[in-house]
């Protein structure tokens, strides 16, 4: 764990003094704003307002496919440079000759992108605050929705960090991460493709869409959290082994 705090601070600094985080933030908020606006407009046009769900549940839940699509773009872009850039520019040599452990480096970098991811979501709380004027808000379902998003982000960003350690090229890292994260997303779609049976059940368990739908209704299933956590921990463990292996390359 040695070096964690220093790596975390450096990574945050580098993310936010370069345009990358800001560009991603702008694109992300534009997309989220458009999606949320469309959903709200759709609900105002409904004749029967006595429906079970409101726009907030729809945004985080049954319409979450839009939101997840933006994550498939934003998360790989956030993680692509973590290791690829260090190896391309050679700074990995100064990093690994300092008294730091691979685990410290990997965790420092990972938590920096996870913090940035959380910071990107922070302004969206305003959507809920704005809608509060038009009706009552269930803050518990809002909380569990954000927990679900944190889980998805934790898994996606860990996968992206692993992919960044696989290549010296940021572009290759980006494409590998999109491929891996899109693959995970598509597995979940299998829930709607296959007939009820074993494959259907497996897909339903792996479905990030279903995870968001449950979470948006306030259902916090520990199995979902364990699933996200296992992807994150496995990816980060493999990443730290990859970093260690460069010594023998």
């Amino acid at each position: 764990m040695s070096g964690f705090a220093a790596v975390y601070r450096r990574e945050m600094l580098s993310l936010w003094v370069t345009p990358l985080a800001w560009v991603l933030l702008v694109v992300f908020l534009l997309l989220q704003g458009t999606i949320f606006y469309s959903i709200v407009v759709h609900f105002t046009s409904l004749a029967d307002l006595a429906v079970e769900t409101g726009p907030i549940e729809a945004y985080f839940g049954q319409e979450s496919v839009f939101l997840l699509m933006t994550l498939l773009l934003v998360c790989p872009a956030l993680t692509m440079r973590t290791f690829a850039e260090e190896r391309r520019s050679g700074t990995i040599e100064t990093l690994l000759t300092a008294p730091v452990t691979p685990a410290g480096i990997v965790l420092g970098k990972y938590l920096a992108v996870l913090t940035t991811y959380a910071a990107m979501w922070a302004p969206t709380v305003l959507y809920v605050v704005v809608l509060r004027k038009t009706g009552s808000i269930d803050w518990h379902t809002v909380g569990s929705s954000y927990l679900g998003l944190l889980g998805v982000g934790a898994a996606y960003l860990a996968l992206g960090t692993l992919m960044s350690s696989m290549s010296k090229s940021q572009l290759i890292a980006l494409l590998l991460a999109i491929f891996a994260e899109f693959g995970l997303f598509v597995l979940g779609v299998g829930e709607y493709v296959f007939e009820p049976g074993l494959v259907h059940d497996v897909c339903a368990h792996l479905s990030i869409g279903s995870q968001m739908e449950e979470m948006s209704r306030g259902i916090v299933d520990l199995r979902r959290i364990v699933f996200d956590g296992s992807i994150a921990i496995t990816s980060l463990f493999v990443t730290s082994r990859v970093v260690d292996s460069w010594r023998w390359g």
Binding site: V17, S89, W248
Partner: protein, 321 residues
Amino acid sequence: MIEARHVSKDYGSVVAVRDVSFDVAKGEIVGFLGPNGAGKTTTLRMLAGFLGATSGSVKIHGHDIATESLEARAKLGYMPEAAPLYPELRVREYLAFRAALKRVPGRERKAAVERSLEQAAVKDVAETPIGQLSKGYRQRVALADALVSNPPLLILDEPTAGLDPNQIVEVRKLVRELGQSHTILLSTHILPEVEAVCERALVIAGGGLVAEGTIAELKARKRGRETRVTVRGDAEKLCAALRELAGVKDVRASALAGATDVVELVLETLPDADADTTLERCVAALVAAGAGVRQVSPARASLEAVFAELTQVEAPKEGDA
């Protein structure tokens, strides 16, 4: 300070470094000399813990770089060849990051950064983003990075590469100053650099250590092979007479300024011949040929000549890295 024992590194079938052993004692400035591609960088990377040795062991300040890696790395400041830095950070930010990474305690960090800024003479660019700095400044920022935790050992990989002559002089001066308080191992392929700053040199060629010793010792390796003889007489005739003798490899004659009948002969003996008896026979032959022998002195070899000889004789056959 450094104990390298039978260190080898191979990449698959390509041997980059083979069986290198040496010591660097506390307080020494040692030059690590070799032509490009001889294995200098690979060896330094193994010493710094960036690469693992295929076999052999390295101890830094008594800590094994493989088994007590963190302790060993905490004792050294390493400056890689291309001086890689983060272009988006300011110099002071970068050094603060490096100080934290190298476990300089929080309250001493600021002072450590200031000290390294001053030592490497980069204080005037402390607030400049690294990406805007010239090559010379970047090189010195990398040096400041190596110094920031005030480690007892500095390993510098080609610290003067890519600098202009004035900057080279400055960096050499800096290295000499640092040598008073640090142990330094620096690699270079520039010979005057070793003569200018180092007390001792290790010569590597084709992945193996071919010579080791003080600069004077290395130069002495060449002595006895070449002798200068100043004679009065017909140069052509004397040269012809000497070439017939056993043990003589070659004779060159050059006229001395301001003298018409006095020439200087440079006598080269064969490597396997006994230099002393060959010289006796040569002088006897010169006298017999009617020459007036005025001066006999061993030619002082330049480090270049020693270097060329060492690295060519031991050069690898299969052109490996």
